[in-house]
């Protein structure tokens, strides 16, 4: 048994590949816990960042600077009365949030957080992710239909139409990235880890490959993924000012929170596809320009540094807290939190840890960048109308994606083409 557990550690692959069920289970639990924590953080960050964009403070009451607000909300949702409308189709109504959450979490099976930090590495990883994440729309249709109410029905119809149309553009963009993996070796791969490794072997992130083709494909994907996850400015399915809350109007309490969880984990999932396919996955930036052991060393300090900066922020907040008894607990709490972050930073300074954490750190930083974009869009853009959304999807993104795909293929075949051409000319 212990041999079985130990055996994996020296294998240097993902647990799925090694066929080690114990570690696979551990990884799955870690991923579920990690994603849930990320969603909680995202909840707080979105409120705070959005608030500061809108000249407000955001949550300030529950815990220092509202740090405990997500927990308070989660608790509130758990103990809230669970309402099922009288005329709802109870079985479907009950299973819809389960379907949505399941699909959102299942996609994380193949997300490579690092060279070995994935639950498994499928040779059809990208297809698997696309397929499973598009199953989420099923849950949304189920939710909208079973509520037996007009607003959810319209919301779910909008959502399904939107997701189906944008998936095509998304797929085309993905194909062009997959095509790039096959260009030099001649053998392409759909495996998520394979794609990142092919970026490593080609010494470029695919966003910069065949400039501007890689960037265009990335842009198509980046727009389509916002629509795919029903976020502003494509948040028509839950357009608050039109459809009240869209497909989850009739949901409350824990079931509603499952939709919330699913939405945010879907955002994380599509962002990690974008990171994997175009932004070099777990690779640190500038390995070509700033290569060599010295730079490797310098970059390995960054995770610790990040935590130190966060800790410093907390300590600064502690100093700036009003010095009155009412704020004593908050001050202590913030100080403790800062100390905790500082401690994590210290742990990350240990070389053995920092080597292992590097990959995950860069992956998370890149995903966090996309999360920030999501919030930024929400603070800036008005909402598209349904027909305009379809127009953007079918008349702009789809032709662009197709054009980029063809152009990528031609560019990639350039050596063979020119060889054939010179052969003909001679």
């Amino acid at each position: 048994m212990i041999e079985y557990i130990k055996g994996y550690l020296s294998s240097g692959t993902t647990p799925g590949e090694a066929g080690n069920l114990f570690w696979a289970t551990v990884y799955i639990l870690l991923v579920i816990a990690g994603v849930s924590v990320a969603v909680l953080c995202m909840n707080w960050l979105e409120r705070k960042i959005l608030a500061h964009m809108q000249i407000r403070l955001g949550p300030m009451r529950v815990g220092p600077h509202g740090l405990l607000q997500p927990f308070a909300d989660a608790l509130k949702l758990l103990i809230k009365e669970d309402i099922i409308p009288h005329d709802a189709d109870k079985l479907v109504f009950w299973s819809a949030p389960v379907v949505v959450t399941m699909t959102a979490f299942t996609t994380f099976l193949v997300v490579p957080f690092g060279r070995t930090h994935a639950v498994t590495d499928m040779n059809i990883g990208v297809l698997f992710m696309l397929g499973v994440s598009s199953l989420g729309v099923l849950g949304i249709i189920m939710a909208g239909w079973s509520s037996n109410s007009h607003y959810p029905l319209m919301g779910s119809l909008r959502s399904s139409a939107q997701m189906v149309s944008y998936e095509i553009a998304m797929g085309l963009a993905i194909v062009s990235a997959v095509l790039m993996t096959s260009l030099q070796t001649g053998t392409g791969t759909l495996s998520m880890i394979g794609i990142v490794e092919s970026q490593a072997s080609q010494h470029t992130w695919f966003i910069f490959k065949f400039f501007p083709l890689g960037f265009l494909a990335f842009a198509v994907f980046a727009i389509a993924m916002v629509a795919e996850t029903n976020r502003a400015p494509f948040d028509l399915p839950e357009a608050e000012s039109e459809l009240v809350a869209g497909f989850h109007t009739e949901y409350s309490g824990f079931r509603w929170s499952l939709f919330f969880l699913a939405e945010y984990s879907a955002m994380l999932a599509v962002s990690s596809i974008a990171v994997t396919l175009w932004l070099g996955g777990w690779m640190r930036p500038f390995p070509n320009l700033l290569g060599g052991p010295t730079w490797d060393m310098a970059f390995s300090f960054l995770p610790a540094l990040t935590f130190f900066v966060l800790a410093a922020g907390c300590f600064l907040g502690t100093i700036r807290m009003p010095k009155i008894p009412q704020f004593r607990i908050q001050t202590i709490g913030l100080g403790t939190f800062g100390a905790l972050l500082g401690f994590v930073g210290l742990v990350l300074l240990v070389p053995a840890v920092s080597v292992r954490i590097q990959d995950i750190y860069w992956f998370v930083v890149k995903v966090a960048f996309f999360m920030y974009l999501y919030i930024w869009y929400r603070g800036t853009f008005p909402r598209y109308r349904f027909d305009q959304l379809m127009k953007v999807g079918w008349k702009v993104l789809l032709p662009t994606g197709l054009g980029v795909l063809i152009a990528t293929a031609l560019w990639g075949l350039m050596p063979q083409l020119s060889a054939a051409l010179t052969g003909v000319l001679q």
Binding site: L153, T380, F381
Partner: protein
């Protein structure tokens, strides 16, 4: 007891909503973007609007009936509760109507103070409109910017008369409060600070591609329809009709001031947006002129303690932020009006909703309700 069968009839006639080709959607009275308690019954074909019906009255308080049991002075605060985001304008309209009935005129200083406060109120009202309208179309940020700056206007109101929203700033015959110390500076400071902020709003929206796509060509009203429906205010002017009561039949001291009446070309939601933005700029212009030329003198005309207008009737209207706000007062020479009828701009403008949204999509209904700038307190009275 006979059993009711009409339920069954309903069942056989009415298809379930999944089979039906037409969907009747009830929007409101509790809906995030019907601006209060407006209820719109939408007849839809998919997302396309085939027809609408507005159901109003959820905020009816019988303001006109209350007037018949109050003295003229006692009714004054009630008018603030109609269009509660532009209470000062309501008060101005009422006071002027009674003054016309009494045949008195407010002294010049009072008139200037009234103009300053009314134009400030126009800015505040347009700010609320802009914030909520943008929110309806999905841009959540302008709301906070607008409310931040509206706060400055409300502070001036508060300093002037102690109230922020339902101000009761004017009295029949003039103003009861003298401009407080620093009133002029406050107004000037506000004007200087406000113009860059207006640019800030415009930066967020005017050239925003999505905003333009959402508003251009949406809810078009041509001038003939506007006049036929009695639509007034920015909605009328955006259709290209240059009709502003401040210029057409100047009241107070508006003839002293130099300002433009912005008009639109297409009469769509985008034009109405531009017209209202420009109106805020013009309001700033008027305030600056009025503050600079604020005359000295009394602020109250000679008005009897007990107001008993002679027998007769009067109609007086002013250009409120939302359009023509008119008061029709019938006096029977008693201390209480025999009848007061209010012509609220929101109520009349709301009529245009059906005309504007037919053939559009559900999302546009929300945009059009926002662009009409209705306040349900005024619609229902």
């Amino acid at each position: 007891m006979s059993e009711r069968t009409d339920y069954l009839d309903l069942d056989t006639k009415d298809e379930t909503f999944l089979d039906a080709t037409e969907l009747v959607l009830n929007m409101g009275p509790q809906h995030p973007s019907t601006h209060g308690v407006l209820r719109v019954i939408l007849k839809l074909d998919g997302e396309k609007v085939l027809g609408t019906e507005c159901v109003i009255g959820y905020l009816h308080r019988g303001v006109e009936k209350i007037a018949e049991n109050r003295t003229y002075a006692m009714f004054n605060p009630y008018v603030d509760r109609m269009d509660y985001v532009a209470a000062v304008s309501n008060g101005l309209g009422y006071c002027e109507a009674v003054e016309k009935l009494l045949n008195v005129e407010a002294p010049p200083r009072a008139q200037y103070i009234r103009v300053i406060l009314t134009e400030l109120c126009r800015i505040a009202s347009h700010q609320v409109w802009l914030g909520t309208h943008a929110l309806d179309i999905g841009a959540i940020t302008p709301l906070f910017y607008c409310f931040r700056d509206r706060e400055e206007v409300l502070k001036i109101f508060e300093k002037y008369c102690g109230a922020r929203l339902t101000t009761h700033a004017f009295r029949i015959g003039g103003c009861i409060y003298e401009a407080y110390e620093g009133f002029e500076q406050d107004c000037k400071k506000f004007c200087d600070a406000f113009l860059p902020k207006l640019d800030e709003y415009e930066e967020l929206l005017t050239t925003n591609r999505i905003w333009v796509e959402r508003t251009k060509g949406v809810g078009i009203l041509n001038p003939e329809d506007c006049i036929a429906l009695g639509v007034t205010g920015p909605v009328l002017r955006a259709s290209g009709v240059k009709w502003d009561l401040r210029k057409a039949q100047p009241y107070e001291s508006y003839k002293d001031f130099d300002f433009e009446i912005p008009t639109g070309l297409n009469g769509d939601t985008y034009d109405r947006y531009l017209v209202r933005i420009e109106e805020m700029r013009q309001a700033v212009r008027i305030i600056r002129q009025a503050v600079d030329g604020l005359p000295q003198g009394p602020i109250m005309a000679k008005v009897p303690k007990v107001i008993k207008p002679p027998v007769g009737e009067v109609y007086h209207s002013i250009e409120a932020p939302k359009g023509e706000l008119g008061y029709f007062i019938v006096s029977d020479a008693s201390t209480q009006p025999y009848r007061i009828r209010v012509r609220p701009p929101s109520f009349v403008n709301l009529q245009a909703l059906d005309k504007m949204v037919r053939g559009l999509l559900v999302a546009d209904v929300v945009a059009v309700i926002g662009t009409l700038d209705i306040v349900l307190g005024e619609v229902d009275r």
